[in-house]
């Protein structure tokens, strides 16, 4: 991997970087759409490339089950299997072991879980996770970490953090000895729950292993924790992580979260949200999400966003026909998935341009003003951005502020 920071925001911690991997260049900060089972829902790899996406994510847990490693290795890796010759990242499977399997027991050796095929106890060790990811062949692979829900408290969080560090060592050894280091890059995952002191210890330990890792992910978040805690953990990690390594915030996908994370110094993020919400009929826009299932869109002949370059909007696909199609025809889901993937890419692309131009704080102000409008700014966003020198209330001290996550959603009753 070659990672070059080419510009920094003069006010916030945001930066633009060029990350060169075996399958090309990805400009950071970027959002990575999730192709869980080797396909972005409903789209083809070729379409994704046309959308200007250069880095997507596959899930190791799922690919290991189906199609299985035999198929992937005979196909020549996941890139060839899915016809994707851009960059690819795989997670370690640790998160799905916890989220999808009720019976997972974590031991020092690895994660013991019930095989979804036979129900028999099966062990996933850090070494195995890395070997699986070597066969999948992603450009960025993740260490196996001991994942606990972000709402967990007590000694289990500390144990998980420390075990994640020990497992990182085993992953590094496995990766170093594999001969795959030239084409695949191992990322560490910072754990430690919501406890700043645990995060700090984890950061120290993982930074000490920087020679063995190409980048750092911030894990253990996006699990229902308070947003005000979330951003503080992100900030703490981003502040401390080395300048010369990419920083990846796992499971982040709402536009406001993305921009706050970028301002705090995050380079990469992934989430199923934009593609999943598309299938339920929701289009993401700079004015907030549009729920096209609502009957108020049935007679709207304008597109989702006239200025959006996505295939759906540039073809002037009307909200009315989308209302007619979504959740009934797969073509409706495809149209919104294309749009939402481009929306995410645009949010990040504009951030890159603003950082280069030295106008990133202005971009934040105008984005948030338009996105939230009269609904009011989420308090946590105001606090988070203040911590890096941007005041959303600048010039409008009486602007409305709302507590809670502030996630924007379109309801049937709003704006009749």
């Amino acid at each position: 991997m070659r990672f070059e920071v080419i510009a920094k925001c003069h006010t916030t911690k945001a930066r633009v970087a060029r990350m060169t991997l075996a399958h090309g260049v990805t400009m950071l900060p970027t959002f990575m759409p999730v192709a869980t089972q080797a396909a972005i829902k409903g789209l083809t790899s070729n379409q994704m490339e046309a959308l200007g996406v250069t880095l997507i994510l596959n899930n190791t847990y799922h690919l290991n089950l189906r199609p299985g490693l035999e198929v992937l290795s005979k196909a020549g890796g996941a890139h060839k299997f899915q016809g994707w010759d851009r960059n690819l990242l795989t997670d370690s499977g640790g998160f799905q072991l916890v989220s999808l399997s009720k019976f997972t027991v974590i031991t020092e050796e690895g994660a013991l879980f019930a095989s979804p095929f036979t129900g028999e106890p099966t062990m996933l060790t850090p070494e195995e996770s890395i070997s699986i990811q070597h066969i999948i062949g992603a450009d960025i692979i993740m260490q196996l970490d001991d994942v606990v829900s972000s709402l967990t408290t007590g000694s289990r969080v500390e144990e998980a953090m420390e075990r994640s560090v020990r497992w990182l060592d085993r992953c590094i050894v496995q990766h170093e000895s594999s001969g795959k280091k030239d084409n695949q890059n191992l990322f560490a995952i910072v754990q430690g729950g919501l406890d700043p002191s645990l995060r700090d210890r984890c950061l120290d330990a993982m930074i000490a292993r920087r020679d063995g890792v190409a980048g750092y992910a911030i894990g253990g978040l996006s699990g229902g924790e308070e947003k005000d805690v979330f951003w503080r953990v992100i900030k703490q990690c981003a502040d401390k992580l080395p300048e010369d390594r990419p920083r990846y915030s796992m499971g982040i996908g709402f536009a406001e979260d993305l921009l706050v994370c970028v301002a705090l110094g995050v380079d990469m993020a992934d989430c199923v949200f934009p593609t999943r919400t598309a299938r339920f009929g929701v289009a993401l826009t700079n004015d907030g999400p549009l729920n096209l299932k609502l009957s108020k869109h049935a007679k709207e002949f304008k597109p989702i966003d006239e200025s959006c370059p996505c295939p759906t909007c540039s073809d002037m696909t009307s909200r009315a026909i989308l209302h007619h199609l979504v959740t009934h025809e797969t073509a409706g889901a495809h149209a919104l998935t294309l749009h939402n993937v481009v929306f995410q890419a645009q949010v990040m692309g504009r951030a890159r341009e603003a950082i280069i131009a030295g106008t990133f704080p202005d971009y934040l102000l105008s984005f948030f003003a338009r996105y939230y409008g009269d609904a009011g700014y989420p308090e946590w966003c105001v606090n988070a951005l203040r911590s890096v020198g941007v005041d959303l209330l600048e010039g409008s001290p009486n602007a409305k502020i709302v507590a809670g996550s502030g996630t924007k959603w379109e309801y049937a009753s709003a704006n009749p």
């Binding site: 250069t54 847990y61 070997s131 696909t317 889901a333 495809h334």
Partner: protein, 569 residues
């Protein structure tokens, strides 16, 4: 407003045999911007106005899509229907093709027709009335009046409108009285559609809706001048009865009488106003299967149970006996390429719906057949049920008969036609999107050459996508199956024109060569279409089993696809 014109050139107007023709849709005065559809050819079906599984960018790169039919009934959930509101919207005041715009079809490439109903839907419906057709929408049965249909066609301006037909979808078999009524109503409804001049507005709509405030864009004038009716295709009514079919044809040809003379002027017969004929096989087959199983006394040469296809051919020929052979004949509800070939050979049909091939994509079948048959003639299926475990490690392209131009497995022989679909011949986009500081000047990466064909998506990949219930599988298969069917028709036309050229001075089409190739096709490809049945079962199994715990359920049922267990690292 530029008017389009539809024409059908049939160098040799054969009444009942194979016909080579060309449908030309001319847009305005510019002859260069014409849509040309060589026949025999295909018509693609849509669902809710969209080609199933294809996003608009895929529609644009699927060359097989030339004629697209839109069943309008799904839009009749609302009154007035949304496409009508759209066409009447001020922003479309000077748009000659508002329906193309609304549905995302390209008026320079797509001939768009509308039919009131999905022609293959034979679900039982309430009976039609003298001036009301029952149609199926997501919110239940709706009633559509012939005058409404005429107005919708003239407002939405598709390229072709299929006239309303009184096709009974009640409890078959149908009495002679019912079929007589069907023939009379169908002719009367055609007359309503052909009537020029203003249409009374507002249209007769149910009282309940009238009470509501008038919808924004609906003009409230008593009568408005509308664009002329697009070219009309009429369904050959009469269902299972030879006399009824002949009577309907006769009613098209008889001189207009009474008030129709002035109302339909300058037409002298209904047939003069008709651009083509449609034949819906699905209701016909349903009605035939409900007939009592006795040798047909009604002059048909063969009884339905002995040879259903020959019986259907006899019925269709009865409709066509007197009608001019020079008009295109569109057939919906075919279920196999074998059936298509026989209809070409024995009836002389020109355009066939692709619905069965599109349905094959729904259930995971990649079509793999070609006409004329090439290479070995061992019996085989017309496609691959990609759910089948045998494709788990098959990294070949979807079709052997129509191979991908660039596969990792084997290179196609020189001279063999290759599959142009989005799955078999993916190409870098002519212009990919950039989002900010990621252009080639920044990344240092040049744009990819859009002429370069990339490796095809493989059977193994789609096998995986099907078993993981990923929608991408169906997008790839839908594009592919349309391309295979399109190539099939190109092959049919190739054989027909070769035989025409080969016989000097004789009958223009040599039925001999074509018939020989049809026989070879029938020997090579299993006409039972078992692969579709098999795939449908597998598709249902995945569809019902999905959800948490699916893998173990499948293993327990002995239907696991045999992938390595999770611990095999």
């Amino acid at each position: 407003m530029s008017q389009s014109s539809l024409s059908f050139a049939l160098p040799s107007p054969v009444r009942y045999g194979p016909r080579l023709g060309t449908i030309t849709l001319r847009r305005g005065a510019d002859t260069a911007s014409s849509i040309i559809i060589a026949t025999p050819g295909l018509l693609a079906s849509t669902s809710r106005g969209a080609v199933p599984h294809l996003s608009r960018d895929h529609v644009r790169i699927t060359d097989a899509l030339r004629w697209v039919n839109v069943p309008f009934e799904t839009f009749l959930e609302q009154t007035p229907p949304i496409p009508i509101l759209h066409a009447q919207h001020p922003s479309n005041a000077s748009n000659p093709h508002p329906l193309h715009t609304f549905l995302g079809f390209d008026e320079s490439r797509h001939l768009l027709s509308i039919s009131a109903r999905e022609p293959t839907d034979t679900r039982e419906m309430p009976p039609n009335g003298n001036a009301l057709v029952c149609v199926h929408s997501l919110r239940g049965v709706r009633k559509l009046a012939p005058a409404e249909w005429a107005a919708y066609a003239r407002i939405a301006q598709p390229d072709v409108v299929l006239a309303l037909s009184d096709t009974p979808c009640t409890d078959a078999p149908y009495s002679q009285k019912r079929l007589t009524k069907s023939v009379e109503r169908s002719a009367a409804w055609l007359a309503t559609l052909l009537r020029p001049g203003p249409i009374p507005m507002p249209l007769p709509i149910p009282k309940k809706l009238k009470a509501q405030p008038v919808a924004a864009a609906a003009p409230a004038q008593p009568a408005v001048a509308l664009p002329p009716t697009p070219p009309v295709f009429v369904h050959l009514a009469g269902l299972t009865s030879l006399p009824a079919r002949k009577a309907f044809a006769a009613s098209l040809l008889e001189p207009l009488y009474g008030p129709h003379i002035t109302a339909l002027a300058p037409l002298k017969t209904l047939d003069e106003g008709v651009a083509g004929y449609t034949i819906d096989l699905a209701p016909l087959k349903a009605a035939l299967s409900a007939l009592p199983d006795t040798p047909s006394p009604s002059a048909a040469a063969v009884s339905p149970s002995e040879d259903p296809e020959a019986h259907i051919a006899a019925l269709l020929r009865a409709s066509l006996t007197a009608l001019p052979p020079s008009k295109p004949r569109l057939v919906t509800g075919t279920t196999s390429p074998h059936e298509v070939l026989r209809l070409i050979a024995t009836v002389g049909a020109d355009v066939f719906d692709a619905r069965w091939a599109q349905r094959a994509a729904d259930v995971g079948v990649a079509l793999d057949f070609a006409f004329p048959v090439r290479g070995e003639r061992t019996p085989r299926e017309i496609g691959h049920n990609l759910y089948d475990v045998r494709y788990r490690l098959d990294f070949g392209c979807f079709s052997d008969a129509l191979p991908a131009p660039h596969t990792t497995a084997t290179a196609p022989e020189a001279g063999t036609p290759t599959c142009p679909c989005a799955a078999c011949a993916p190409r870098p986009p002519p212009a990919r999107l950039y989002h900010g500081h990621d252009a080639p000047s920044v990344s240092g990466e040049p744009e990819k050459d859009p002429a370069r064909v990339l490796p095809a998506y493989t059977r193994a990949y789609v096998h995986h996508l099907l078993h993981t219930h990923e929608m991408s599988a169906h997008a790839l298969l839908a594009a592919h199956n349309l391309a295979v069917l399109d190539a099939f028709f190109a092959g049919v036309r190739g054989v027909l024109s070769a035989s025409a050229a080969g016989v000097e001075g004789g009958p223009v089409e040599d039925a001999g060569l074509f018939a020989k190739e049809v026989r070879a096709f029938e020997e090579a490809y299993d006409p039972r279409m078992g692969v579709l049945v098999e795939a449908e079962a597998a598709w249902r199994a995945v569809d019902t089993a999905r959800g948490k715990g699916r893998l173990s359920r499948e293993t327990g049922a002995g239907e696991g696809e045999g992938v390595a267990p999770a611990d095999a690292a």
